[in-house]
Amino acid sequence: MALTRVLAHVSVPGAKPGQQHRSEDQGEALNLDERARVRRFEEVFVVHLDAAYDYAHWLTRDERNAEDVVQEACLRAFKFLDSFHGERGRAWLLAIVRNTYYTWLKRNKAEALSVSFDEETMLANGCELADLESTGTSVDQVLHQQDARRLINGALDQLPEEFREVIVLRELEDMSYKEIAAIAKIPLGTVMSRLARARKLLLQHLQRAQQES
């Protein structure tokens, strides 16, 4: 997927333009001993490889591409290790995974599915809270069915990417609103509205599945 070529453009949280050069000038002060860096990388990031892979898999929806994205994200994380100042390593790595993914996506636009999405349309089509109330269909029943696993994963799969990713970060990676905002580079308010719409869409999808069965 020619990821390596792409990576020069990937931005990394906390690494401001020019910072990299400065750290080279002050190499003695800023660069840790290389072996210590590897050790630190193990402690801070390698422990979160599963999280990185899970997130990448939900973004790319493909094993091979998820592996490529994670591998390159790790190299970036290692390169910018010195600009990591003890925030949650997991959130930091996930942010890099996301950047890597979007850079990769831009380069592979032709092959990739369109991910453009109009939130306004979404708003217009989205059901109001009252809709859920009035349908009266309980998702409880859906979730207790034998194929709950298939239904849930199917519902997640059909979510537009912006919504799928906040749900994955929140429910599978246990990220706080603040962390999701930092990873997805969106304001806190948008985190909340996306989560709300994502859940609304999921509930609608599951209710439809319920009615069809």
């Binding site: 790790c74 998702v139 994963n153 999921l202």
Partner: protein
């Protein structure tokens, strides 16, 4: 609270991003509003359904090995451009002995106290971390914002069924910022807020469940936070912040020594 308010906070409630008064206000509303309750229940079912059934893709071992290999190679491939190794630099040598001694002391301290971390304490630590993180998110870090221990202590005592020890530690470099009520271990607890440069320390205090036991200081490091826990004089103490382990230890010792 009306239905509009309660529904606008549905997701924050679900995601444990509300402070304690916010949670209690919602609980109160749900107890008397069937319509809102239906919506909340739907969302709860959805959330637990996702957490239970959504596939969590774990990284293949081959990928882990490949990444380790690549990182290792990148190190051997980039020798330190003619710069002397750090241990040959004079500045490093001056600090070497002191640093080594300090590191050994810290390591043995951590090793000594990490032995007895029960699963119960692990769970509580998660709660403590969540409370701390939540307190940092909201604007309501303290219910009483004052460095005056003689204001904070009576205020907390009047709201709780115990009286937590409160000491201003400005002289030790940890000024008291204020006090707050929180909810941990299934009971209301006192949260004392201390500052240290730009960092915030939450110290949670409540009466210990065990009878008359005491526990030396234990340290945990989770999600980028350092947590210290000890039991003394019938009180359980949990200190948490993003300060490093040494600073946390200094804080805890200053607090414990001040009484």
């Amino acid at each position: 609270m009306n239905c509009t308010d309660s529904r606008s906070r549905l997701h924050a409630y679900l995601d444990q991003e509300l402070d304690l008064p916010g949670v209690l206000a919602i609980d109160e509303h749900l107890a008397s509003c069937e319509a809102c309750k239906t919506i909340f229940v739907q969302h709860f079912a959805l959330q637990s359904g996702i957490r239970k059934h959504a596939v969590y893709y774990t990284a293949p071992d081959t990928l882990k090995e490949r990444i380790r290999g690549m990182i290792g190679r990148s190190v051997t491939a980039t020798p330190a451009n003619g710069v002397k190794p750090r241990w040959q630099q004079p500045r490093f040598q001056r600090f070497q002995l002191g640093a080594a001694v300090a590191a050994t002391a810290l390591l043995s301290w951590i090793a000594a106290i990490q032995y007895n971390t029960a699963p119960e304490a692990e769970l509580l630590a998660e709660q403590v971390i969540a409370s701390h993180a939540r307190s940092m998110l909201t604007t309501r870090l303290a219910d009483v914002s004052t460095s005056d221990e003689h204001t904070v202590k009576p205020w907390l005592s009047s709201k709780l069924d115990f009286s937590p020890p409160v000491t201003d530690l400005t002289r030790a470099g940890f000024p008291l910022v204020g006090g707050r009520l929180d909810y941990l271990d299934n009971r209301p607890v006192a949260a004392l807020v201390y500052g240290h440069s730009q960092h915030v320390i939450n110290l949670f205090v409540w009466p210990d469940r065990g009878s008359g036991r005491s526990l030396p200081m234990q340290s945990m490091s989770k999600h980028g936070y350092n947590v210290l826990h000890w039991i003394n004089g019938g009180m359980a103490f949990w200190a948490i912040s993003d300060l490093n382990a040494t600073e946390m230890k200094t804080f805890a010792e200053a607090y414990a020594g001040a009484k």
